[in-house]
Every structure is written in C-alpha cells, then in structure tokens.
C-alpha cells in the first residue's frame, strides 16, 4: 500500500478567507457568526448564520467559467486556488500530470430555486440561461473545478450530508493507497444563501439566540439551543508520499486512518454505536490504539442529541485516557457539506502550530460532555496524531486520523 500525505490546503470560511486568517481565528477563539435579515423576511425561525464573504472572480475567471459557478462553487474555486498554490502546483503542471478531484457537496439550492422562479414567471425554459444546469447539479463543484483547473483523473462529487467533505479525504486516500492516482484535489463546499437552509431551519434545529450571535453555537454546553448553519469551502491536496518527496512538496501530515460506518437507524438522529464504529475503524486502519491520539476534533454541532451521542461514543473509545477534545463549530457554526474537509484544515493548522483551538461557549457541560476532556481555552500543545469526526443525516459517519510531518 502506498502512503498518502497532504501537501496543500486552502480555505474560504466565516473565520477567514485564507489559511493565516483562519489560524489566527482558531487560536484566538474568534467566532464568524452573524445575522442575515433576509432569513427572517423569508420565514426562518433563526436568522443566525456563518457570515462568508463572496469571492470577487470577475477578471479572475472568464465569463463562461463564472456563469457556471454557483455560490458554493465560487468558494470552492477560491479554496482550491489557494491549496494548489500552497502545494506548489500550477496549471502547467496540471496539464502535464494526471490529477483527480473528489469534492463534497450536497446541494445547490439557490440555482435550482432561481431557475424555478424564472420558469414560473416566463413559462419558457430557454430563458434560464446557459449556466443554470451547470450550477444546479450536485456535482457542480467537481464539474466546474475539473474544467477550470484542467483535471484529468478521478472526477466525482461525494454527497454524504455533513460528512461529505471527510469522506472525500478517506476515499481519496484509498485511490492513492491503491496506486490509482498520485494526486487528488479533495474538499468540501457549502452554500450560505438564505434559500439553501430553509428546510433545515424548519426542523427547529437552529439556535435562536439572536441577541448573542457570538454565543449562539455552543457545542457540548448544557444551555445550547441548536446549531448555526454556515459554509464556504475547504480544499486539501492529497498526494502519494514518494511523489510528494520527489516534487519537494511541503508535507503537512500523513493520512493514517479512515473509518466509516452507517447507523442504519434514524434519518436525522445520530448513534453512539455508529460513531464509535467509525472511530474504531479509523484506529484499526491506522494500526493505532486510542492512547496514541493526541487530540480529537469533534463533530459536535451544538445540538443536544448530536453532541450527546458523540460524547458517549468518544467517552467509550477514548475515556480511559481522557484524550483532549474540542469542537471548532462554536467559532465556525456548522459548515455542513464542507465541515469534514474544513475541520481537517483546522486540525492541520493546530498540528502545524502546536495548539488546540478552544471549544468556545462551553460554560456548563451536561451529563454526557462532563465525562470528556474538552478544551475550552486555547492550549499550546504539541500534537503528533489527531482524529477528526464527521457525522451526517442518514447516519453516514466518517473518522480520519492524521499524523504530523
């Protein structure tokens, strides 16, 4: 089996639109959540959201490239442009060397809804414009990025709800381990427009702590009242180890383990058993024991049920050594389809700069979370091996283990 390393990262999120901004936000516990008045007007229970700036791509991409990109595609372009640059890869390299793309995305609501509105008004599909179809499909990110960046390897979107981004890295690692690809662009993207989250808001899942947006996302806290939706995009360049060494590429970390599972039970409720299976499988894949893990980046989204089941699972697998845990979602909100990739970027930044980002807004643990060693203030600490959890609707679970280089 070949070894798999990460040689480039890029991020466009509510806590920063480049790696350095995000590193500072993570270290300082800075929250990127705010109010979107359009959500209230549209009928949301909660106007809270991660506030993500739109990249300005006029003059950067051609008209044809821009009109096929939906909002999440713009974020993904921005993150991927950064990640490729970070890995020392340019368009000339990509034209000469086969590179793949596996990217997480599970909606493109705005493009679909806007097309519907035009048809209702005009009763004529030929007035939708040429970009509508390419913006509307779930695979919009991979179809756009593969043409913009001249990618000629594996090319597909992974739709696995809030674990989409994490599964892209696990599956990408498998392609590289098997020797099928030398390099794959992986990541996750999430739209943040008000059209995209209405049905999720309708489940009463979102925090309504509108008077304190910066305190609204409170993973593991007894007084949490729901998650805060967020988004953007995160990209990671996966590369075969010898290939990276030959290129002289900077190496952030090696992917040691990928664990997956499906709960097979409830469409929205997570499971401690399924979560534990994913973590245990990742440990077995990495040939490691729980005691080898220095830090766990939890999925915890700030919902009572989700946080509770994950706390039970972490306690069951890692309780004996009280492994340090934090959820970065107090700062970022829940980045959904992007979260599994962005949280690997966050974890890599912690590993590179030797700190654990705080689980902000955890003031009073509940009966489940009190058993965990949750880091509530930034902790300067050398991190060698870390695990990141991602869980999604339908019970799709993913856990990844990384080792610092």
């Amino acid at each position: 089996m070949k070894r798999v390393v990460i040689t480039g990262i890029g991020i466009h999120s509510c806590i920063g639109t480049n790696v350095e901004e995000v590193r500072k936000s993570l270290y300082n516990g800075k929250c990127g959540i705010g109010i979107d008045p359009a959500r209230t007007e549209y009928g949301y229970r909660s106007p809270l959201t991660g506030v993500v700036p739109r990249p300005e791509l006029k003059g950067v991409l051609s008209r044809r490239q821009r009109i096929c990109l939906p909002e999440e595609g713009e974020y993904a372009y921005a993150a991927t442009e950064q990640a490729l640059k970070d890995a020392g890869i340019d368009l000339d390299y990509l034209e000469k060397n086969e590179t793949g793309i596996l990217y997480g995305n599970d909606s493109s609501s705005k493009a679909v809804i806007e097309s519907h509105e035009i048809c209702v008004e005009k009763r004529d599909t030929t007035l939708l414009g040429s970009g509508a179809i390419f913006q509307s499909m779930n695979s919009t990110v991979t179809m756009n990025l593969s043409t913009i960046f001249k990618l000629r390897g594996i090319n597909m979107t992974i739709s696995a709800a809030c674990s989409s981004g994490s599964h892209t890295l696990g599956l990408g690692a498998m392609f590289i381990r098997l020797g099928l690809q030398d390099m794959i662009v992986c990541g996750g993207a999430q739209e943040t427009n008000y059209l995209s989250m209405a049905s999720f808001d309708g489940l009463n899942a979102f925090s309504t702590r509108v008077d304190e947006p910066l305190k609204s996302s409170r993973p593991f806290d007894k007084n949490r009242d729901g998650l805060v939706p967020s988004g953007g995009a995160a990209t990671l360049i996966l590369e075969e180890y010898e290939h990276a060494v030959k290129r002289g590429a900077p190496i952030y970390a090696e992917i040691l383990g990928y664990g997956f599972s499906s709960n097979g039970v409830h469409i929205s409720q997570p499971s401690d058993h399924g979560s534990a299976v994913a973590m245990e499988r990742a440990l077995a894949d990495a040939n490691l024991k729980p005691v080898d893990i220095d830090y766990i980046n939890a999925h915890a989204t700030s919902t009572v049920i989700g946080d509770g089941y994950e706390a039970m699972a972490i306690d069951r697998v890692f309780g004996a050594q009280k492994t340090p845990v934090s959820s970065t979602k107090g700062m970022t909100g829940h980045e959904c389809w992007m979260a599994g990739a962005s949280e690997i970027v966050y974890t890599l930044l912690m590993m590179k700069h030797s700190f654990i980002a705080p689980n902000i807004n955890l003031e009073e643990p509940d009966d489940m979370s009190k058993n965990l060693n949750i880091i509530v203030k930034t902790l300067d600490k050398n991190l060698d091996i870390c695990l990141s959890n991602s869980f999604g609707f339908g019970g799709t679970n993913s856990a990844l283990i990384l080792k610092k280089f």
Partner: protein, 82 residues
Amino acid sequence: MNRNEIKEIVNNFLIEDIEVEADALKDEAFLKEDLGIDSLDFVDIVVVVEQNFGFKIKPEEMTNVKTLSQFYDYIEGRIKAT
C-alpha cells in the same frame, strides 16, 4: 428604434453580458469565428435579447445569421415586424 440605437444596445450587451472585446465589434465580424460566440453563449444571447428588446429569438430564423451586421439586420427586422 433606428439601426444606430439597435447597434448600441446589441454592442452594449455583447460587451457587458457576453464579455466580447469592444474592438472586435465590427459589422463584418463573424459571430462564431471572430467574436468567439459558441452555442452556450447563444443561449445567453436569447435571454439578453428578450430582456433588451422584449421578444424571443426563433432559432430557425437565425440559421443564416453569421455576421454581426446580419444580427443587427435580424433584430431590426423583428422590431419592424411588431
């Protein structure tokens, strides 16, 4: 609406919406070969013509429209016919 007004509107949306280089907008320019307008761009031209002139291009009437001048002729003819 006279021909000069039509030319101004068409040239303006070709520059602003389709991002054709202004210098390339010559009467004898071929839409495809000189201006780089492909089949997907033409889908967008249908939309901007409807927005600017209030009628929809009929694809079968465009088969002989090859140059920019012929495109102005087509728009002018449709306006006169209404």
